[in-house]
Amino acid sequence: MSPDWTPLLLAAALGLSLRLAGVLLARRLRADHPMVRWAAAVAGATIAAFVVVALVAPPPAVAAAVPPVARAAGVLAGLAAQWRFGLLGGLVAGLGVLSLVAAYAAKP
């Protein structure tokens, strides 16, 4: 398949422009400037919203592969393990439990 490269290059140029605009806009601002604090809050809220959406309403193909009970079990196991073993331990435990529950749920 021979793809049309124009959309990719156009989207890449627009994405780089957004990044450059942000850096150039903020480079003379102090870290406690209201605009910088606002941007950090928006970025943090976007990540939190992304997690909620990915867990509660993932795309249909993903939802079919990983049922809600597996997603919930994975996150809860990850958070519990992170408390005791840190971020990497939480990640390993979360993904392990998610995979096990998803495999169990997929059994006929």
């Binding site: 398949m1 021979s2 793809p3 049309d4 490269w5 959309p7 990719l8 156009l10 989207a11 994405g15 780089l16 957004l18 990044r19 450059l20 942000g22 850096v23 806009l25 903020a26 480079r27 601002l29 102090r30 870290a31 400037h33 209201p34 910088v36 604090r37 606002w38 941007a39 950090a40 809050a41 928006v42 970025a43 943090g44 809220a45 976007t46 990540i47 939190a48 919203a49 992304f50 997690v51 909620v52 990915a54 867990l55 509660v56 309403a57 993903v62 592969a65 990983v66 997603r71 994975g74 990850g78 958070l79 992170q82 971020l87 990640l91 979360g94 993904l95 392990g96 998610l98 995979s99």
Partner: protein, 220 residues
């Protein structure tokens, strides 16, 4: 060894932290999806290196033409607040770091660069962001080549590695008073991201939830 080189090296190590395997799993799945969609390797690599924002990459893969460009740009509009929040720590030559600004290295950087000596934020981020950028492309390459051989049992972990990683990060952020309002704002506004079209939903939830959190913090 100069302080800048030490900072760059520390950034490289930070870029290989726990977030790296989570992000790589997402890129591996993207590489496999490109292979399944019959896209050439060069297009897949260019999408990883030039777009370097997974929602935008996935939209470009699935939506052809100008609608794809618009969807990808709106979905990746979060680059702007990410860059503004990081900008003050990068110094006058911060534009050098622009291609590497994405959610994964940002989430690591915003916890580290405020504590660095002024002037060392840029080399640190070039190390961290550059490694994340390269690892993402390498994982996508691997996914492209081994797409047909990926075991079915590995699929759930690949699909949710990034989600679990960010869930753990925001779980930790809830315990930090400075970060808590933004997390709660994003969680409360998340239904918007479900109700609105995917390309604009997440942006709207972040803008509304983040602005509400910022206003609430200013009032206190």
């Amino acid at each position: 060894m100069t302080a800048a080189f030490s900072a760059w090296r520390a950034g490289v190590w930070a870029g290989m932290g726990p977030q790296a395997p989570a992000m790589m799993a997402t890129f591996l799945a993207f590489g496999a999806a490109c292979r399944e969609a019959d896209m050439p390797l060069s297009w897949m690599l260019a999408a990883c290196l030039l777009i370097y924002g997974m929602p935008g990459q996935l939209i470009l893969l699935g939506v052809p033409g100008m609608p794809g460009v618009l969807g990808a740009t709106v979905a990746n509009a979060r680059f702007l607040p990410l860059a503004i929040a990081l900008g003050p720590y990068l110094g006058p030559r911060g534009w050098l770091a622009a291609p590497f600004i994405a959610v994964t290295p940002w989430a690591v950087a915003i916890r580290t660069v405020p504590g660095l000596h002024p002037g060392l934020g840029l080399p640190w981020f070039l190390g961290c962001g550059g490694v994340s950028w390269g690892l993402g492309a390498a994982a996508a390459l691997l996914g492209f080549w081994v797409a047909a051989d990926l075991p079915a049992a590995a699929r759930p972990a690949l699909l949710f590695a990034n989600t679990i990683y960010f869930a753990l990060l925001i779980g930790a952020d809830v315990l930090r008073p400075a970060a808590r309002p933004a997390v709660l704002g994003g969680v409360v506004a998340a239904p918007l991201a479900i109700l609105l079209p995917p390309a604009v939903g997440l942006l709207a939830a972040g803008l509304i939830g983040g602005t509400a959190a910022w206003l609430w913090q200013r009032r206190r």
